[in-house]
């Protein structure tokens, strides 16, 4: 059914995004990149994919400059697609940007809390999470004003409302604020793709639910693992878990009670994918999950495996026709590509060639 009318509004955008997907770096391209001796070589190798954007870089650019230029390309492409999107697709794309917006607002809140000049922070904000009224937030001099302007000016208001008051911004750790917002965002997004009349029951809802559920589970597991040994209480932790996903509700309940890595392992036992991850991690690295650094060169961390899984899901999204999810998937794939390039550049710059293969290539 969705195939009948999808292309009327969204055919062009889908075509463009599929074209973008084809320009993503492939495994042979990555193996060329890893052969590079200097950043300049790397830049040359990236020429076909990023030529225009890297042209303005000075010789031997820093890895951060490289990363920001490659991000620029993503931004400009995203903006082009966004400009051509209409109706529910436009709304969908806005939803994609909300995640970045949360990061930006969290940054501004941090700045305001510490009474910094938030105008300087605007440059540090992620361009994807930019919204027109963001500079307005910088006018706020204290947290209460900021809270009110966030409620009025930003699309994030629903995520603040109901779960955070302006006192919370003052008292809670910014990370908790950020994760609360993110939880609300994920739930809202999930709700959006499943209930909007254009998307409910279409491949979009199916694929996006899959992606978002994975994202929710990943966040839940990460929050649990990262909160061990911090002042975050179990009750507070429980509030940060999104209320959907493969782990919800039994898994998240068990996660909220987990005291150590073993507890997390038990909690995720019911989901085959995560169980496999944990088993692989405990086999690979003896020093526990999430161990990316240190001795084991080939041992993949949990984080790596999550990224790997995310990329696979994103890749699979392109096997479906008539869906908005490819845009989300494309953004994620592109972000991973930028991370990969940055990683390879770091390895080259720091002469740590033995770890250079630690990126994730899906195509």
């Amino acid at each position: 059914m969705e195939g009948l009318l999808f292309n009327v509004n969204n055919g062009y955008v889908e075509g463009i995004v599929r074209g973008y997907r084809n320009s993503l770096l492939t495994t042979p391209a990555y193996s060329n990149l890893t052969q590079c001796e200097t950043i300049d070589d790397l830049k040359l190798q990236l020429g076909p994919a990023y030529g225009d954007f890297l042209a303005s870089l000075p010789p031997n650019p820093s890895t951060s400059a490289l990363a920001s230029k490659t991000t620029d390309k993503l931004i400009s492409e995203f903006r082009y697609v966004r400009a051509n999107a209409t109706g529910s697709l436009a709304k969908f794309m806005d939803y994609v940007t909300y995640g970045y917006m949360i990061d930006n607002v969290a940054l501004l809140i941090t700045g305001t809390l510490h009474e910094r000049d938030t105008r300087e922070l605007l440059e540090r904000c992620h361009p994807l999470g930019w919204f027109e009224t963001m500079p307005v937030l910088c006018v706020a001099t204290n947290v209460e004003e900021l809270y009110n302007s966030v409620l009025i000016e930003t699309p994030l208001a629903p995520y603040f409302k109901g779960s955070l008051s302006h006192q919370d911004l003052d008292e809670l750790n910014i990370e908790i604020v950020r994760n609360t917002l993110y939880k609300n965002y994920l739930e809202d997004f999930h709700n959006f793709v499943n209930t909007h009349s254009d998307m409910a029951g279409t491949p979009t809802a199916e694929v996006m639910s899959n992606i978002l559920e994975f994202e929710a589970d990943r966040r839940a597991i990460n929050i649990t693992l990262n909160s061990f040994g911090t002042e975050l209480t179990k009750a507070d932790r429980n509030k940060l878990y999104p209320t959907f996903g493969k782990l919800y509700p039994e898994g998240t309940l068990m996660l909220s009670r987990a005291d150590d890595v073993e507890g997390v392992r038990l909690a995720v036992d019911g989901v085959h994918d995560y169980k496999t991850f944990f088993d692989a991690v405990s086999l690979g690295g003896s020093s526990g999950p999430g161990n990316m650094g240190g001795g084991s060169a080939d041992g993949k961390s949990l984080e790596d495996m999550f990224y790997q899984k995310e990329m696979e899901i994103s890749k699979d999204a392109f096997t479906r026709q008539f869906t908005y999810a490819i845009i989300y998937a494309w953004v994620k794939l592109r972000e991973q590509e930028i991370r990969n390039i940055t990683w390879i550049a770091e390895c080259i710059a720091q002469n740590q060639k033995d770890r250079i293969g630690n990126f994730i290539s899906v195509f």
Partner: protein, 271 residues
């Protein structure tokens, strides 16, 4: 020697000669001690050892500085790389957030003084403040483990830096001390000992001069005395002879005592 310029301004007396000799002896003992030559005095042994110890410590420290610098190179590399891992895992810049959420120092150093054979060397000792976990929640959603590990790696890097700083400070101070000692050795060797020797020589020569003067004077006095004595003796002798003559004349003229004055008036003495 060049004379007055290179000696101490003392009066050339026996007392100051004694003082100078004592000084020279002291200087030589000190010099041999500082130079680590054979030391006879037990009480100074410690001092000699001090110098050896100091030099050895300085060598030891240079070696450790070398090690620490190499270690720092490695550790800093690992630390920089772990930061790369963080940016890979988090996928963004967390610098600002970390800066803002850090409230108090977790990694602190304590300074204490080590007494290394009389030289006070500052030693920096690093320690972690317990329970200070300001950005423990950074990267809660993703990358938290990498952030924590990165922090640990950097803590190790800072530890290496502190160690290096401690060693270098110690080295600089020891170097200074050793230089001072060397300067002192040179001063003793090239200034104090020659000058004292000169002074002694000067005093000796002055005293010799005085001795010679004294001797000459005495000789003169003796000569004079001899001459005077000879004259006195001759007079005495003449008088005695005259007396004997008179006595014999008187005994010829009359046995009774004659008027001496008259008799003398009569008889002139003929030499």
């Amino acid at each position: 020697m060049s004379g007055a310029a290179d000696r101490e301004a003392v009066f050339p007396t026996r007392q100051s000669l004694g003082i100078m000799k004592a000084k020279l002896k002291g200087a030589e003992t000190g010099h041999s001690l500082l130079k680590r030559k054979n030391v006879s005095e037990v009480s100074y042994c410690q001092v000699a050892d001090v110098f050896t110890i100091r030099t050895n410590i300085a060598l030891e420290i240079t070696r450790r500085i070398d090690e620490a610098k190499r270690k720092m190179g490695r550790v800093m590399q690992i630390a920089a790389f772990s930061l790369a891992e963080v940016s890979y895992a988090v996928g963004g810049d967390i610098g600002y957030q970390v800066q803002e959420s850090a409230k108090s120092a977790r990694f602190r150093i304590r300074t204490k003084q080590d007494n290394v054979s009389g030289v006070l060397l500052p030693a920096f000792e690093s320690y972690l403040t317990e329970g200070n976990n300001d950005f423990g929640l950074t990267g809660l959603g993703k990358g938290g483990q990498q952030v924590q590990r990165c922090r640990e790696t950097y803590a190790r890097a800072v530890e290496a830096l502190v160690e290096l700083a401690s060693l270098q400070t110690a080295f600089v101070i020891l170097d200074e001390v050793i230089k001072v000692v060397n300067r002192r050795v040179n001063a003793i060797e090239h200034v104090i000992i020659p000058r004292t020797e000169n002074t002694i020589k000067y005093i000796n020569s002055e005293l010799d001069e005085l001795d010679r003067e004294e001797f000459y004077r005495l000789k003169k006095v003796a000569n004079k005395k001899q001459r005077d004595n000879a004259a006195a003796d001759a007079e005495m002798k003449a008088r005695r002879e005259a007396m004997e003559k008179n006595e014999s004349g008187a005994s010829k003229q009359d046995s009774g005592p004659a008027d001496i004055l008259a008799a003398e008036d009569d008889d002139d003495v003929i030499f």
